[in-house]
């Protein structure tokens, strides 16, 4: 079975704002990046906008049981469910979350590291046990646990059809969308919620990614001008409601866009061009039509962009846009955010203006938009969206 799957709801939060309408307007109005270059210097971040959490997580008790990453994702998931008008469908809604690591208690970590780092383990070990047993909030474990973003979406929004959490940075999100799409297409359920969240404003995230040499330092320049010098982490969350087209039609809902296909692979990246070849191989799995093709590039500014440039150069008639210049790189949230932006443009019947100096100068509004995703470490992914008719 290969049923038609629509995107019927989008929950999108980036440094530019929240909701698909706000993003459509901001990107068309020549928005400039929102950047915080001070707090995590030398690493800049695109910060979250102020969120009215009560609107999506009404119980304060639930908010207290989460740290910012889980709150952000639970919030965006709620936006997507509302956008799809699917509050009544959550009991049998399937869920796949691409999760990052949970938050550390930075204050506790710094106090313990300062106190104990120089002592031998026989001495530090017992004190470490004592500090952790007394210093960690019992609820922090759950507020930290990767699968508890999905757990909180179940608890707060009542999504209980099924619940899976994938890990593995950018490619986890691409595979989450691929598998959510494939399960609906083959008839395993009628509606699914899929996405991810990334809380960029965290020292523990900087500590994880900075040693890989993948982060840009200093004031950001457009992604295309970074010469592989690194990504600017961007706080963001994106969730998509995917739905069998017949199911949506039957309840009188129009699709924002049709999700025509998702394809993923992971080359070993043993040499230059491997990732480009992997992505090129994925093109054959998507029903790309002749003529102008919109491309929403996942270019993050990190080292793999040479391969992405090579891949893009081989696409004839591509009209390429690089939203990374404006919203940064959101790891597990990036690919879902870019699919959300692509679907939004399809739903509006247009495309975005030039967002980055390397973008194609064209006012065309292509019928199909290809979303590209190259993981900073591993993973190549493509998704194709087009009008839902």
């Amino acid at each position: 079975m290969n049923r038609e799957i629509w995107i019927t709801g989008i929950g999108l939060v980036t440094s530019l704002g929240e909701g698909r309408a706000a993003h459509w307007q901001a990107l068309n109005a020549g928005a400039t990046p929102v950047v915080d270059t001070e707090t995590f210097a030398p690493y800049p971040v695109h910060p979250l906008p102020v969120l009215n959490l009560d609107a999506q997580i009404p119980r304060k008790g639930d908010q207290r049981q989460m740290e910012p990453w889980q709150r952000l994702g639970t919030y965006a998931a709620g936006l997507a469910i509302d956008d799809a008008g699917a509050r009544g469908l959550v009991a049998d809604m399937h869920l796949i979350v691409a999760a990052g690591g949970g938050e550390r208690d930075v204050t506790v970590d710094e106090a313990i590291a300062t106190e104990l780092a120089d002592r031998p383990e026989t001495e530090s070990g017992p004190i470490l046990n004592e500090r952790l047993a007394n210093g960690l909030r019992p609820t922090l474990f759950l507020a930290q646990l990767s699968n508890l973003l999905a757990g909180n979406i179940s608890i707060v929004h009542g999504v209980t059809g099924s619940s899976r959490t994938f890990m593995g940075e950018e490619s986890a999100a691409a595979d989450a969308i691929r598998i959510a799409h494939a399960r609906l297409a083959e008839g395993r359920g009628e509606i699914a919620l899929v996405g991810g969240a990334f809380a960029a404003q965290r020292w523990d995230m900087v500590l994880l990614y900075a040693p890989g040499g993948a982060l840009w330092q200093g004031a950001p320049v457009p992604v295309s001008e970074r010469a592989g010098g690194g990504a600017v982490l961007g706080a963001m969350s994106a969730f998509l409601v995917l739905e069998h087209a017949e199911h949506a039609r039957a309840r009188g809902v129009r699709g924002i866009a049709k999700l025509s296909g998702v394809a993923t692979d992971a080359s070993r990246r043993a040499g230059p061009g491997d990732a480009a070849a992997s992505a090129t191989g994925l093109l054959a799995k998507l029903p790309i039509a002749a003529g102008a093709l919109g491309v929403l590039s996942g270019d993050s500014g990190a080292a793999v962009q040479a391969d992405e440039a090579r891949f893009l150069a081989a696409l004839p008639d591509a009209v390429t846009r690089r939203p990374g210049t404006l919203i940064g790189h959101g790891t597990e949230a990036s690919f879902p955010a870019h699919v959300a932006l692509a679907a939004t443009a399809i739903g509006e019947g247009g495309f975005y203006p030039v967002l980055d100096p390397a973008d194609t100068v064209s006012r065309a509004a292509p019928r199909q938009i290809l979303v590209t995703g190259f993981g900073i470490f591993r993973g190549e992914a493509l998704a194709l969206v087009e009008p839902a008719i």
Binding site: G101, G102, V106, E110, I112, A113, T114, E115, L116, A117, E121, G125, L128, N129, E130, L132, A133, L136, P138, L140, F141, L142, L145, S146, N147, L148, A150, G151, N152, S154, I155, T160, G161, S163, R164, T165, F166, M167, G168, S171, A172, I179, A182, W203, V206, L207, L208, A210, P211, G212, G213, A214, D265, A266, R268, G375, F377, R378, G379, A381
Partner: protein, 423 residues
């Protein structure tokens, strides 16, 4: 050959296992049937100020008895997963060295820097604040690749030559079952003819232990480690953390037959249902647990009465075992099949448990024997089930086994493992 829903049958052709009872499926299985316990006092780090000082730790081959903190959780996960995968591939005799003809689904715990890494960075920086540690970490690509969520899957995929992007999953204590389900679905969809599903966990380090302790989830019966894990027993007081891994080689049944593979059994059905009640507790009505069990049995196209044995989730926490018993009664009525918990012997291997227990379920069908629930002294009057107390049981005609996995965050996944089709 198709199943009742017209999908390809999914065969298991190789099993690999690492448990606190040993490295290797044969050794682990023999000791499980003997009722041995792999639970012991933790030797890896100082135990001062800890409420729980026991676990089912797995020493790496080069470690001294009890181990040390020299290996981080992601390193342990990768080592045990690699061993289990290699063992499963060797049994299945599939592909060639470093060239497995299918996908990799890895169930693993979330990983992060641990205290030895933080201390080392703070020492190098002569200061313990995060900006200082970040500065000291600059250029340490090994640190980045070790603790990335995608790192373990990538290295296993590279080593075994699996195809496509490796998929790493976490659904708390249901993780291993989710990895298997994800692989089964890929084969049923025709995406691949073969897949490796592996679940692995190596989380016995101070902070993880303390976090579970703070949730009052762990047994504190420290004085007699082998007797601490008491699933379904009246005096049970929590689970015992443990480590391990299990891998299954899964194949499209017809493709496996065509290449002359020996079929150990089938993953005939998978069922899941999320619970929206609470972060650590099931809804008292048991609806999600009952739903997951029923979904697995229905997915396999069998009737509840055909299930001959249940390899239970059976963690030994007061709450879990009560809810699992409720689910058993709701689904199977007045004459439920026997249920046993191998966690009584190896503890709760967390992200590995669903995979290890699926493997044990298949071995029960192969050998027609049920592993016991040890430490069964006094039955809990609210759990009147046949728990195969203390001694393994030989059976006849066992064809269908249910394996339950229930996790924090409302994650419930059940698998239905079956004998190969009769020729």
């Amino acid at each position: 050959m198709k199943d009742h829903l017209g999908r390809p049958l999914v065969a298991v052709t190789g099993i690999g296992m690492v448990t606190p009872l040993g490295w290797g499926a044969a050794l682990s299985w023999a000791r499980l049937l003997a009722g041995d316990s792999g639970i012991r006092r933790i030797g890896r780090f100082p135990l001062d100020h800890l409420k729980t000082t026991i676990a089912g730790t797995v020493d790496l081959p080069e470690e001294d008895d009890g181990g040390s903190t020299a290996f981080s959780s992601p390193q342990r996960v990768e080592r045990m997963a690699a061993f289990a995968i290699a063992e499963a591939i060797a049994e299945a005799r599939i592909g060639s060295e470093g060239d497995f003809p299918g996908a990799l689904m890895l169930g693993m715990p979330p990983v992060e820097h641990e205290w030895p890494q933080r201390f080392a960075l703070a020492r190098a920086a002569h200061a313990g604040r995060y900006p200082d540690m970040v500065r000291a970490a600059t250029g340490h690509r090994d640190l980045y690749e070790t603790f990335l969520f995608g790192g373990i899957g990538e290295r296993l995929a590279a080593r075994f030559g699996t195809k496509g992007a490796p998929i790493s999953t976490t659904t708390a204590c249901a993780t291993g079952a989710t990895a298997i389900q994800t692989a089964v679905e890929a084969i049923q969809r025709g995406e691949t003819l073969a897949a490796i599903a592996v679940g692995a966990d190596g989380s016995v380090q101070p902070e993880a232990l303390i976090r579970f302790s703070l949730l009052s989830a762990l047994s504190t019966r420290n004085e007699d480690p082998a007797r601490a894990a008491r699933p379904f027993e009246k005096s049970r007081d929590g689970f015992v953390m443990a480590e391990g891994a299990a891998a299954l080689v899964l194949e499209d049944y017809e493709a496996a037959r065509a290449r002359g593979a020996r079929i150990i059994g089938l993953v005939a059905g998978c069922g899941e249902r999320a619970d929206s009640f609470h972060r650590t507790r099931s809804n008292p009505d048991g609806a999600a647990i009952i739903g997951a069990i029923r979904n697995a049995i229905a997915d396999a196209g069998v009737a509840p009465v055909e299930v001959g044995y249940v390899n239970g989730h059976g963690t030994g926490t007061p709450e879990n075992d009560k809810m699992e018993a409720l689910g058993m009664r709701a689904v199977f009525g007045e004459a439920p099949p026997p249920i046993s918990s191998i966690k009584s012997m190896i503890g709760h291997t967390l992200s590995a448990a669903g995979a290890i227990e699926a493997a044990a379920s298949l071995l029960s069908i192969r050998d027609q024997v049920l592993p016991p629930t040890i430490n069964h002294v006094e039955p809990d009057p609210s759990i009147m089930l046949d728990v195969v107390p203390n001694t393994a049981r030989q059976v006849n005609g066992l064809r269908h086994v249910l394996s339950n996995s229930f996790g924090f965050g409302g994650q419930n996944v059940c698998l239905l493992l079956s004998a190969p089709p009769e020729a």
